[in-house]
């Protein structure tokens, strides 16, 4: 990272991208394609070096050389489903690739059920918050009252939001319309929280770049 060439290229690329703010220019598009090229190239090499070589090639090599279990050679069979992906390159034979992509769709679906139920049940349990301020060991306390109020607000937010996203109820009724309205307002408060945090993330991108330009590139240029 402290490699001077990497720093200089990084600084030029950064300033080149920022030049897009002044006006649309061809430099931005060229740099974008270059970056895409690097991403694709490194992805291929890393996938080979860190996945296919240790997990696929070495068991086969080991089996053929007799240094590892002979069953390693069975990995050659993985080439059959693996090569099916490339039928996607042809319009006519595209359907052949669905034989392998269908497998992944099924796996994703089967695991999604398990994933969702394991994720949601603890949350249902955690939603059963105590509402009674008198239920504490010392009877009524202000802290207990504050907690119960927060719990009540939490439950109101949860249930009104659920009702807001409920589409098969009739809304002519005032008893339904008012909570739905409340639900939307609660969602707005949550959106505000998401908004504030999104702003922070976007600002952090810029701060990181400024830090790079200043600390890695500019400051070493003017020592002292």
């Amino acid at each position: 990272m402290t490699d001077p060439l990497a720093v200089w290229v990084g600084a030029i690329v950064t300033l080149g991208v920022f030049s897009y703010l002044a006006r649309d220019n061809p430099f931005y598009r060229l740099i974008q394609q270059a970056a895409m090229g690097v991403v694709v190239g490194i992805t291929i090499v890393v996938t080979w070096k860190q996945v296919l070589q240790p997990m696929w090639l070495s068991p086969i090599q080991g089996a053929l050389a007799g240094t590892r279990d002979w069953t390693g050679a069975l990995w050659l069979l993985a080439l059959v489903p693996g090569s099916l992906w490339y039928f996607q390159l042809s319009k006519k034979w595209f359907w052949v690739s669905t034989l392998v992509s269908g497998l992944f769709v099924g796996v994703a679906a089967g695991l999604a059920f398990k994933f969702r139920i394991l994720l949601i049940l603890p949350q249902i349990g955690a939603s059963l918050k105590p509402l009674n301020p008198f239920a504490g060991p010392n009877g009524f306390t202000w802290e207990g009252f504050l907690d119960s109020s927060n719990n009540l607000l939490f439950l109101a937010a949860l249930l009104t939001t659920l009702l807001y996203f409920f589409f098969s109820v009739k809304t002519e009724n005032r008893w339904v319309r008012t909570p739905i309205r409340w639900g939307r307002l609660m969602i707005m408060v949550a959106l505000g929280a998401m908004f504030g945090n999104t702003v922070m993330t976007r600002m952090s991108y810029l701060i990181e770049r400024m830090q790079f330009l200043y600390e890695m590139w500019l400051r070493p240029l003017f020592p002292g």
């Binding site: 992805t43 992944f104 994933f115 603890p122 949550a190 702003v199 600002m203």
Partner: protein, 281 residues
């Protein structure tokens, strides 16, 4: 005043871009001391979870961030690794799903580990990239059952079996804590690690994703979470080693102030323009 505001309303955005850039450089050039608030419940949770691991215990870190989220995740990884080194806890690093992450993780951890006298292979291992184009779900659930089948070599190609530390790590039960630091950690970790095996999971995420995860903090499915650079700064205060997070969090003060100021001025400008228009009519 009103006319001035109305003119500001039609300002060329390029001036605003320039002003933002200058405003954000200031905190990097001049170190401005600012108060540090107490740690939030989420930060504290992670700190306590690390403190609960005995010296010599093993923690798994999934560092799946890359250039897209370096601005917040780097500080989050740094401070936790420093804490682990302070407490002589050993750790295994994986990168699920993002090709560039092992490189970033290596560059972030190496200097801290070297400073603490950690030996690669004995005290920490970078197990590298785990392909997950098929989705994280099968990979995480298999990783929990048998680490050695899913990763057979480390980031430099050394067979996993040759690394002394990895002889002690077979299943997720050998690990005391899983810390996932990336742009938006997948809730799959919660379901398949905490939900199925009870091993505590903590997240380090971009600020943007944090509101989403609060429901897991509330339900204690996550033992802790670092939120953006603020979380890293709080953690650095807890381990008494202010570093990157503290600096970036301070700079974020200026960034947030810029947005709030811009929105206030914009709304005032609109209001002034509307009033001027009404008077003119």
């Amino acid at each position: 005043m009103g006319r001035w505001l109305a003119r500001l309303h039609t300002l060329n955005p390029r001036w605003l871009y320039l002003a933002t850039a200058i405003l954000l450089i200031i905190p990097l050039v001049i170190l401005i001391p600012m108060p540090r608030g107490s740690a939030s419940r989420a930060t504290r949770g992670l700190y306590d979870a690390v403190e609960a691991v005995p010296a010599g215990g093993i923690v798994m870190i999934d560092s799946s961030w890359d250039q897209g989220s370096r601005s917040e995740n780097a500080a989050q990884l740094e401070c936790v690794v420093r804490h682990l080194c302070q407490r002589r806890i050993r750790f295994v690093v994986t990168s699920l799903g993002t090709v560039f992450s092992p490189e970033f993780a290596q560059k972030t951890i190496e200097p801290i580990a070297a400073q603490a006298g950690y030996v690669y292979g004995r005290d920490w291992v970078n197990a590298g990239y785990v392909q997950s184009a098929s989705g994280l779900a099968p990979v995480i659930s298999a990783l929990a059952l048998d680490f050695h089948t899913i990763r057979q070599a480390d980031v430099r190609g050394t067979p996993i079996g040759d690394l002394p530390l990895m002889k002690e790590v077979r299943t997720i039960r050998d690990v005391r804590l899983v810390y996932v630091v990336t742009y938006a950690p997948s809730p799959e970790w919660i379901s398949f690690i905490t939900g199925q095996f009870g091993t505590p999971v903590a997240f380090g995420c971009m600020s943007m994703m944090a509101p989403n995860y609060y429901t897991y903090i509330d339900s204690k499915q996550l033992c802790g979470m670092l939120i953006g650079n603020r979380g890293a700064a709080e953690y650095e205060a807890l381990i008494r080693h202010p570093a990157l997070g503290t600096r970036l969090s301070m700079a974020a003060s200026f960034g947030n102030a810029a947005v709030i100021l811009a929105a206030v001025v914009g709304n005032l400008g609109m209001w002034a323009a509307r009033r001027a228009g009404r008077r003119g009519a």
